[in-house]
């Protein structure tokens, strides 16, 4: 009798349970499908395409190794390879040295102005790469560069002091641009290290150099290599610096060559693809080893006790040179670039600062920009794209994260891997892959804003994943389980418990993706068409047209807007206790 009762109760329960699992699996299934589609399809298509001849009206595409044969047989490619390697390595070393010195000064010494160091972390966010390059052209071009002109005037010579149109100039600009990244990575390395490891070396009788060499540095090796690798990868991926500085003087690297191959007539898609695949291979290897190294870091962790504030080294009189180094750096990376843009934005024609030019200050460039026919559509597109991609990414990655962090689903690590895959795509390569895919799989979005949305979502998916993972890890399993025990379905639990708890991370990630989307250039450059320009593309076009003063005006306004957004992001971050990832 009682057995009957139990089985009928179980039967009555079954449909409800099924419905519950249903909703869960649908959401999971859709999210997985979206991520897999976004991350894998373009990559697969790019690989596929690189093995075909160009399709023309008269001739269908044929399978060929010709693209690779052409790419790898020419001396040109060898030169390209060495140029890229030289540029990326130089950038990585320079950025690393500058970033590490500053991080060490900041974390371990009593250099004055330490509080200003913090602003460093936001600089790369508020000055987009293209504006940084343009500013440094205005500063360091051999003909019109202010630095050259001023020094020549002072020293009465015709000597060119800095020439950004050279491999060293490219390394200088790129290294400066990426040094805050090195600064952040090395700062977190120094912070993660138990200070008593260094203190115990001091107590053992080691002096500052013995401690730094035998303990601090030896312990940081994995982090140092990882930082160098990631800097190397971004050096490989950077597009605007080698294109604006290298191409005019014939120094080609992979990214600028891909751009050139597409923009010549007829477009050499096959060649561009084979370059892109090669570049992708290099960055993938870099990212792979970088993640291996980061994983290894845990091997180097011993039992750690309470974090005692580390003793800062008293630099004595050396404090002042150290502060000077810092101020000089701040000048190079923020003050000079911004000032030069500001200056030229108040001129009718670009001219070097002088008393005479001071008399010609004008608001004309701003007027021109505001009446520019592209401005309103570009602004609208930028806002739409950044808002849309940020929202979509944060929601989709919330589900992905939940699966990866909270479930025991087999193969979930693969999902994490797939969603992180776009990380290895250089922006230009991703643009190329998406362009090729939707040119061939015609679903009517090529040339519309939708293709750019897809590109943005794909490109910034890993960021959303990272923000959500950090906050998801902080949500204790029992919070969810107690919702379940209270009788909530999976959907209700996710909506009423998980998402609200994720809110700080969601918000911080959302703003971050907004910011990087507004600055995005290297992916958009291959995907935009008239009517779907974004702000960064407009800057690019102004540069191509030689409208430097209008570019400066737009640039100044963009920097100010990004500055406000970044401040907002940091306020949110502080309020909810989220660290910038």
């Amino acid at each position: 009798m009682s057995g009957m009762g139990q089985s009928s109760a179980a039967l009555a329960h079954k449909p409800a349970a099924w419905r519950r699992i249903d909703a869960k699996w649908v959401v999971i299934g859709v999210s997985v499908a979206v991520v897999a589609y976004l991350a894998i399809m373009p990559l697969a298509f790019l690989l596929w395409q690189s093995f075909f001849t160009p399709q023309t009206a008269s001739k269908a595409a044929e399978f060929t190794f010709g693209n690779y044969a052409e790419a790898y047989s020419s001396l040109e490619t060898l030169r390209l390879f060495f140029n890229s390697l030289k540029f990326a390595t130089g950038t990585a070393v320079f950025a690393f040295l500058v970033g590490t010195l500053l991080a060490w000064l900041n974390e371990r010494t009593n250099t004055p102005f330490k509080k200003l160091f913090f602003t460093l972390s936001i600089v790369p966010l508020i000055i987009p790469g293209i504006l940084f390059v343009v500013a440094w052209i205005l500063l360091g071009s051999p003909k019109i560069g202010i630095v050259n002109l001023v020094l020549q005037d002072w020293l009465h010579t015709d000597q060119v002091f800095i020439n950004v149109y050279s491999i060293w100039g490219m390394i200088w600009v790129a290294g400066l641009h990426y040094s805050p990244m090195a600064f952040l990575l090395m700062t977190s390395t120094f912070r993660a290290m138990d200070p008593s490891l260094e203190e115990s070396a001091m107590m053992s009788g080691a002096n500052i150099f013995q401690t730094a060499w035998r303990v601090t540095l030896k312990l940081s090796w994995p982090a140092i290599f990882a930082t160098m690798l990631i800097l190397f990868v971004v050096g490989m991926e950077t597009f605007e610096i080698p294109t604006l500085l290298g191409l005019p003087v014939g120094i080609e690297v992979f990214t600028s060559s891909i751009y050139q191959a597409i923009h010549q007539y007829p477009a050499q898609i096959g060649l561009a693809s084979s370059y892109a695949v090669t570049l992708l291979l290099i960055t993938a290897v870099g990212v792979y080893f970088q993640s291996r190294l980061s994983g290894k870091g845990s091997k180097y962790s011993t039992m750690t006790g309470k974090g005692f504030r580390p003793r800062t080294i008293d630099l004595g009189a050396w404090r002042y040179p150290a502060a000077a180094v810092y101020l000089l750096y701040f000048l190079m990376i923020v003050v000079l670039p911004f000032l030069v843009l500001l200056w030229s934005s108040f001129q009718n024609f670009y001219s070097v600062p002088s008393m005479a030019a001071l008399a010609n200050l004008t608001l004309e460039p701003y007027r021109t920009v505001f009446s520019h026919p592209t401005l309103m559509p570009a602004l609208w597109n930028s806002l739409l794209l950044s808002f849309g991609s940020a929202t979509l990414i944060m929601l989709v990655t919330a589900v992905i994260c939940w699966i990866v962090v909270k479930t025991k689903l087999p193969g979930r690590w693969m999902l994490d891997g797939v969603a992180s895959l776009p990380m290895v795509f250089p922006g230009l390569v991703l643009g190329l892959a998406i362009m090729l895919f939707y040119l061939n799989v015609n679903i009517g979005i090529y040339g519309t804003i939708w293709i750019m949305l897809i590109a943005y979502v794909t490109r910034f998916l890993p960021y959303g994943l990272r923000y959500n993972t950090i906050s998801m890890l902080q949500i204790h399993r029992e919070l969810e389980e107690s919702a379940e025990m209270s009788g909530a379905s999976w959907g209700t639990t996710f909506w009423r418990v998980i998402l609200p708890l994720l809110k700080p991370g969601l918000l911080a990630g959302w703003i971050f993706i907004m910011i990087v989307s507004i600055r995005e250039l290297s992916t958009s450059i291959l995907l935009y068409s008239p009517g779907t320009e974004v702000v960064s593309i407009m800057i690019w076009e102004l540069w191509e047209n030689g409208q430097y003063v209008e570019l400066s005006a737009l640039g100044v306004m963009l920097i100010l807007a990004l500055f406000v957004l970044v401040l907002l992001a940091q306020m949110v971050g502080k309020k909810f206790g989220i660290r910038e990832a």
Partner: protein
């Protein structure tokens, strides 16, 4: 041997506020003795230890070791930590994960004044010390492969290889599990007594302090509340903080009625009735004091105990804790905690007799 005089330290916290860590801290540690700084977290004990080490620069005061001034605000002397030659064991052990056990222990000999030693001499010395702590068998192992207890012993070995004048231990046992901690207590004590090494030990664990020390300084809010031998500290607390922090105690408010004719004994009036108590400091009639009474000194029995302080009480509640029973007995409106051998086990509500020796009723100044 070690002498700390008038030490003041302060540092800014994360919010930039000035935190006063040590306030007028002074003490002396004789040659070969183990001296403990005991106190709750944030009492300034670690800052004091780090000031002795040289990892922290005090604001004022003087620290001398063996007559050598290592810090003095008056003489503007500050010897950097790597020139002080003290051994230190950190709470986190700070074992370098990129070195083997041997390399960790040999490091001090390779970098300091002794760096001129030959490889063989270094090896001999390191192996001798590793043998002392029982790690000679694992000398070539990676340091991260050691267990918690082994890491602790390695940290100690590293501090000992340099044959320091002074050994500084910062909560060395707090990261170990309870069983291991008790065993390491014995080992640490045996080693310190054998080597006759002057040692400053920092802990928040009162039983550790009582078990290991020749002398203890109890600290609170940056100040030393009492310095004394473990027995002094436990049996003759000089103030309410020390009585409360070290061990468990009953506090009973009292007023002095008269001095007894025996030295140090006084008659006081309390909420449980008149009582004879002991006080090191002379007390005046009418002075209000607090009587501290350890639970193990409260005798609970079926018959009236033969002592001057004897009362009737009711068993209010009791806890069986294995080694003893904890009784809460009620004398009038006052509850007293008592520890009694488990063989005496009257039911709750029973009227029992309670007695306490006057020697064990310690009067401490009120406030």
């Amino acid at each position: 041997m070690l002498s700390v005089k008038g030490l003041y330290t302060e540092y800014p916290n994360e919010r930039g506020e000035i935190v006063r860590a040590a306030q007028d801290v002074s003490f002396e540690v004789p040659e070969g003795k183990l001296f403990t700084l005991l106190g709750p977290s944030g009492c300034g004990k670690t800052t004091t230890l780090r000031s002795i080490a040289g990892l922290e620069k005090p604001r004022a005061g003087e620290i001398t070791v063996d007559g050598r001034v290592v810090y003095s605000s008056a003489k503007r002397t500050f010897v950097v930590p790597n020139k002080r030659g003290f051994g230190m064991v950190f709470q986190s052990y700070a074992i370098w994960p990129h070195m083997t056990v041997f390399q960790n222990a040999a490091f001090p000999l390779e970098v300091g004044k002794t760096s001129t030693l030959s490889r063989q001499k270094i090896k001999d010395r390191v192996m001798r010390v590793l043998a002392t702590v029982g790690l000679d068998q694992v000398a070539d192992r990676e340091a991260t492969k050691l267990s918690g207890g082994q890491q602790q012993r390695l940290a100690l070995a590293r501090a000992l290889t340099m044959e320091p004048r002074l050994l500084l231990l910062d909560e060395p046992l707090s990261n170990l599990d309870a069983k291991l901690r008790e065993r390491m207590r014995f080992e640490l004590k045996r080693m310190q007594r054998e080597l006759q090494l002057t040692t400053v030990y920092v802990t928040h664990d009162q039983s550790e302090a009582l078990a290991l020390s020749h002398e203890i300084a109890v600290m609170n809010e940056g100040r030393i509340m009492q310095i004394g031998t473990p027995r002094d500290i436990y049996e003759r607390p000089q103030n309410r903080f020390v009585a409360d922090f070290v061990g468990t105690t009953n506090f009973v408010d009292a007023t002095v009625i008269a001095a007894e004719n025996q030295a140090d004994l006084y008659r006081v009036q309390t909420s449980i009735g008149p009582l004879t108590c002991v006080s090191v400091e002379p007390l005046k009639v009418g002075e209000s004091v607090v009587i501290s009474l350890r639970p193990e000194d409260v005798v609970v029995a079926a018959a009236r105990p033969n002592t001057r302080n004897a009362f009737e009480a009711v068993v209010d509640a009791k806890l069986f804790l294995g080694e003893f029973i904890e009784f809460q007995v009620k004398l009038g409106d006052t509850l007293l905690l008592a520890r009694v051998h488990p063989s005496f086990n009257p039911p709750t509500g029973t009227i029992v007799h309670v007695g306490m020796e006057p020697e064990k009723c310690v009067a401490i100044p009120n406030g």
